[in-house]
Chain length 346, copies 2
Amino acid sequence: MSRSGYTIYDIAAEAGVSIATVSRVLKGDSSVSEKTRLKVQEVISRRNYRPSSIARGMTSKTTHTLGIVLPKLLNPNYAMIFTGASDGAWAAGYSVSLFPWRSITDQEGNPALLLAERRLDGVIVCVEYLPPHQQELLGRSLGELRQYMPVVLIGCVPADLDYPAISYNMAEITQGIVEELIRLGHERIALIGGMEEDRDELRRDIGYRQGLEAAHLPFVDSYRVWCGGTAEDGEAAMDRLLSSLLPSHWPTAVIALNDMVAMGCMAAARRRGLQVPEDLSVVGCGNLFCAPYLVPPLTSIDTHQQQLGRRAVELLLSGEKRREDARWEWVRRDSCGPAPLPKEKT
Amino acid sequence: MSRSGYTIYDIAAEAGVSIATVSRVLKGDSSVSEKTRLKVQEVISRRNYRPSSIARGMTSKTTHTLGIVLPKLLNPNYAMIFTGASDGAWAAGYSVSLFPWRSITDQEGNPALLLAERRLDGVIVCVEYLPPHQQELLGRSLGELRQYMPVVLIGCVPADLDYPAISYNMAEITQGIVEELIRLGHERIALIGGMEEDRDELRRDIGYRQGLEAAHLPFVDSYRVWCGGTAEDGEAAMDRLLSSLLPSHWPTAVIALNDMVAMGCMAAARRRGLQVPEDLSVVGCGNLFCAPYLVPPLTSIDTHQQQLGRRAVELLLSGEKRREDARWEWVRRDSCGPAPLPKEKT
DNA sequence: CTGAAAGCGCTTACAG
DNA sequence: CTGAAAGCGCTTACAG
């Protein structure tokens, strides 16, 4: 039982046939006589012989492996994308390899190197936060990659990248959230999360401003707090916001970058004695598994990450060239309610 | 720019050298003359040529790809394992492919088929819940797999599987939790989660009973509630438990299968008017990212999943044969406190 | 320093 | 129905 396992030569020799015949048995070719087939089958199963898909791939130019490039799997949203992709891929006979984000934007050595060398049958690249200096690099990497395998983009995909894609636009989603909050009577709405230098597709503040403008509400600079994507980030950002304002000016609603940031916001608000949703409504994004179990249960935007991953695989395998919009929808829970009635200050 | 990309022949022809020379330039062989090297390099970078690692693998018998078999990625604990494995693998020049659990236990066709055919450089198999009828099948699959690649087991690994492994024993961990709760004065301790038919390594109730016995506390059958691993499961199980008992007999502490089940337990308790931790202490397992943000923050057992994944890759690549115990530690937060003083019933 | 040739483990025309 | 041979895209002795 050597580590290398058996080859088609071993099986052919033991069965007393040529390797061509073994190969035919393997692929279920009906031209093989029953007698030969049985003999070969017997050797194959006795030896637990498994043909090398690598060698097969040499002729078929196929690896039955897809790649997925994700910013980071630890964020449950990405784990959901991966799960969807993996399920879809598996159903079609493929497995999927994870590549870290830096595999496609690393300056050292040649970018996209490893991915291209792998000769995958396709790769899904999830484009989210992208420092400005990486934008051109990403374009180049994708171009090189495309020489060797089909590429599908998902996430907040820049409009100028001409690839099949499933994209969502955070500005648009955020505008929808703002409009709904205004409908609930909120006027002091804060936006927490994101980075100033983000690309437009990611800039929730664009939709935020548009939503306010449409309702003739002022844009108040201090209600816009930039921060990273973790619960700690959200907690610190909310803290900063509340510290910088008189309680009478505190927002009555907060739109968080994602559910983790929302968790942090709720914690910071609670520490200040604010009741959610009586004093403060909170809306997250991503609809994580824990959202219903927060106190109060968190209203969130479901971005259907699992289905996104699944659909990306479909696009990849079908070769369709189109660009689609990702679905999203409100999931209403108790963290979001009508604006509080104006009360006197203490 | 055909999808197939260039081959070493294209580059050799364009540079006016033999493929052997191109190959030497590629691997940085110093025997190539400076002039030739530059000429070849120029063609390579102008064409963005990337040698096929597949073809390379034919001679080197290496794929630079590891596999990981996970019960399900959606559970954040497994995503952490994958992340750790991926980080470790990437640092060593490998990428890792995800294989669903059924790829190794599916009855249809030959089990382990796909994995063995992939000729990976190694595979990590995470063994957790395992229906009794799959146990023998798993042993066989692993045996076949081992013919073709090194295997490392992680999770709650059955003692009779003779593979390099990193294992944790839930019975032992649970016993530790019980002892600590008893130290806090608890006497009515419930255990929620798991399946009656689980293997001993997973049977938290074994450690649970031992912990009680050591303290001469009775084992009360109704305090032991079997259920699945989601928050919904936990909520329903807790509900069942509370409904079945007089309030005066309600447990003062709950040990949950994992953090998700713990979330469910807290929700069910809250609905009954129980205060955590004043009336009920709750201990989870896994220390998920949301544990600190639950209300109250959840005490949990950190099983260091990321490090587990990383270490598994080390074992795989180093070829070490040993079996290690996984680390775990308490993360104390507010959900767990001293037992309430006995009070009168309403 | 460089090239011709064999080999990695398969598949697939092409003969017979 | 079956086998000998070429080929997939590389690497690596072996010559020169």
